[in-house]
Symmetry: C2
Subunit: 141 residues, 2 copies
DNA sequence: CTCACTGCAAAGGTTTTGCAGTGGG
DNA sequence: CCCACTGCAAAACCTTTGCAGTGAG
């Protein structure tokens, strides 16, 4: 997989005119590697193992930079801690009511239904941009 | 309207076995009166006008109590401040990308489409509970 | 070389907690 | 009357900011 390769991250950063630093590479790749909507703290600890002395403040700054450049996305949850995910094509989220687990949910058919529905019906006084489903429930074990 | 009446709030609190205090009545009713997903701070200031010396800590404690008892609901936004709304039948939210405005969106037809869709198709390894749409876009002026 | 980025520590803003005092049932 | 609730202040928590030093381009 291409995103396992450092060049992937270097390329994405350069495309946006951002400097390629070890910290940015580590944080950017950690979000792909952890792959479960990690918090800043989780990314910080994950990186500490391999990147001795990175600062938590740096993690926050890099996350903000990456989000501002549409390389990652902030995910808000019902708890008060922000989580992060790769910036990828539009998708929905499954939230487990019993734990803090979040999974991505892709469904082209559903997206088509929603797009058609809102295109036909519209919403009074509102221009619809992005539609995301927040689906809460429980994962079967 | 019934919710303009103090008895409405007294009744809801008693149903849940909660003590009826002036602070709880003020906070509970403020959420209905403000009617725009207020923050704890906004509720606090609104109540101060009529309730001299209520404490902000009390506002937070009462909001938690009301939410725990399904009398109100926390609404998480893209900012880091929690907002609150009456607990009412399932609905969706319109988020203005340009401001912090949030509006409720009710649509029985849409809900029927979604319910049918997920009942028929299901989601692998997941029991669907509530589905809420997070619709971002902009309000027409 | 230079300016953007990092590390560190301090500050900021929201929410929670502890505890003595009060009042609702 | 008693225990749950309130007020107040301090603390906790996540996140942001300031600044001197570093390193990517």
């Amino acid at each position: 997989l291409y995103f396992m390769n450092t060049r992937f991250y270097q390329g994405r950063l350069k495309q946006k005119g951002l400097k390629v630093t070890p910290q940015r590479l580590a944080i950017f790749s950690a979000i792909y590697e952890l792959n479960n909507h990690p918090t800043a703290e989780q990314i910080f600890h994950y990186i500490r193992k391999t990147h001795g002395n990175i600062a938590l403040g740096t993690v926050y700054k890099v996350l903000e930079t990456l989000a501002d450049n549409a390389l990652i996305k902030k995910v808000r949850t019902d708890s008060d801690i922000n989580r992060y995910e790769p910036f990828q094509e539009a998708h929905h989220h499954l939230f487990d009511t019993q734990s803090d687990r979040i999974e991505d949910y892709y469904d082209k058919e559903l997206d088509a239904i929603l797009t058609d529905y809102f295109r036909a019906k519209g919403i009074k006084d509102f221009d619809v941009g992005e539609i995301r489903l927040h689906i809460s429930g429980s994962f079967k074990r």
